[in-house]
């Protein structure tokens, strides 16, 4: 069974690689390369795979899941400029893909235990663009 919980945070970012020219950054990242940065209301859906506990009937107590997501995602990310305030985005471009990957890395050790497994992380940068990450899997078609 897969259960999903949603959290939101608002943050600013800029997508540019300082080793590249302005023209190259503009070509790769478009408007997101504006050096002054811009922001989004990000929405994150975290999906957890497991079986309901025979006593509690729950895969994981949602209060506990909520507390983990608040601590691991919302506290470090919310109302921050990701490039300046949230490692690893001082070194990595905070694309939606890299944000999904970082959130996976933050959550995986907290959630994949006791017969449960982090199933997927979905990050909406806007309602029109979202990325799903399911961990390291082989590149099959």
């Amino acid at each position: 069974m897969v259960i999903t919980r949603k959290v939101e945070f608002s943050a600013s970012h800029v997508c540019r690689d300082s080793r590249l020219s302005d023209e190259e950054n503009q070509r790769i990242y478009g408007m997101a390369a504006n050096p002054h940065g811009h922001g989004h209301n990000y929405v994150v859906e975290v999906s957890l795979e497991g079986q309901p506990d025979p006593v509690t009937g729950m895969v994981l107590d949602l209060k506990e899941l909520k507390a983990i997501l608040e601590r691991e995602i919302v506290e470090p990310y919310d109302h921050r400029f990701l490039n300046y305030e949230v490692p690893p985005f001082d070194r990595q471009v905070p694309t939606t893909e890299n944000i999904a990957l970082d959130i996976w890395r933050r959550l995986e050790p907290r959630l994949s235990e006791g017969g449960r497994k982090l199933h997927g992380v979905r990050v909406y940068e806007t309602p029109d663009l979202f990325v799903d990450y399911f961990g390291e899997t082989t590149c099959s078609a």
């Binding site: 029109d128 663009l129 799903d132 399911f134």
Partner: protein, 144 residues
């Protein structure tokens, strides 16, 4: 492996009417959608693409390239059009959302290699909603 999904919209009119059926059969099968003058929807199309991360750019998909492809092949020819009269394939087949989904998927597949010449990213699926309550999903590997 990442799946990147991008949402696009177009507004179009259509009429559901099969040349293989009688007037009565069409009316009873398609109901209001068989109204001879047609009607319209705000269609929402979600295009999902799979690929590994390009560590140089931090992207699995170059969104600008995907946007250009979808706008050229789908949004521009469909938006503010009468599908039955102005999109050639729907002169022959009924523009149900099922057929529209297959046609969109086919157009993207046909032009994919020109926009994305490498092994990755690959088109995974498209979802189309003619209203927020009716969603149709077509996997790229389902069609030729």
């Amino acid at each position: 492996m990442f799946r990147v999904t991008r949402r696009y919209e177009f507004a179009a009119s259509h009429r559901l009417h099969s040349q293989a059926l009688s007037e009565d059969e069409n009316r009873s099968l398609y109901g209001k959608c068989n109204n001879p003058h047609g009607h319209g929807h705000n269609y929402v199309v979600e295009v999902s693409v799979r690929g590994p991360l390009d560590t140089a750019t931090g992207q699995a998909v170059a969104i600008g390239v995907l946007d250009a492809l979808v706008r050229r092949e789908v949004v521009a020819p469909f938006d503010h059009r009468n599908l039955n009269r102005e999109v050639a394939v729907f002169g022959e087949i009924v523009p149900t959302s099922e057929n529209l989904g297959v046609e969109i998927c086919r157009r993207l597949k046909r032009n994919w290699a020109q926009s994305f010449p490498g092994e990755w990213p690959k088109l995974e699926k498209i979802r189309i909603g003619e209203t927020p309550r009716n969603i149709f999903e077509v996997r790229a590997d389902e069609i030729e």
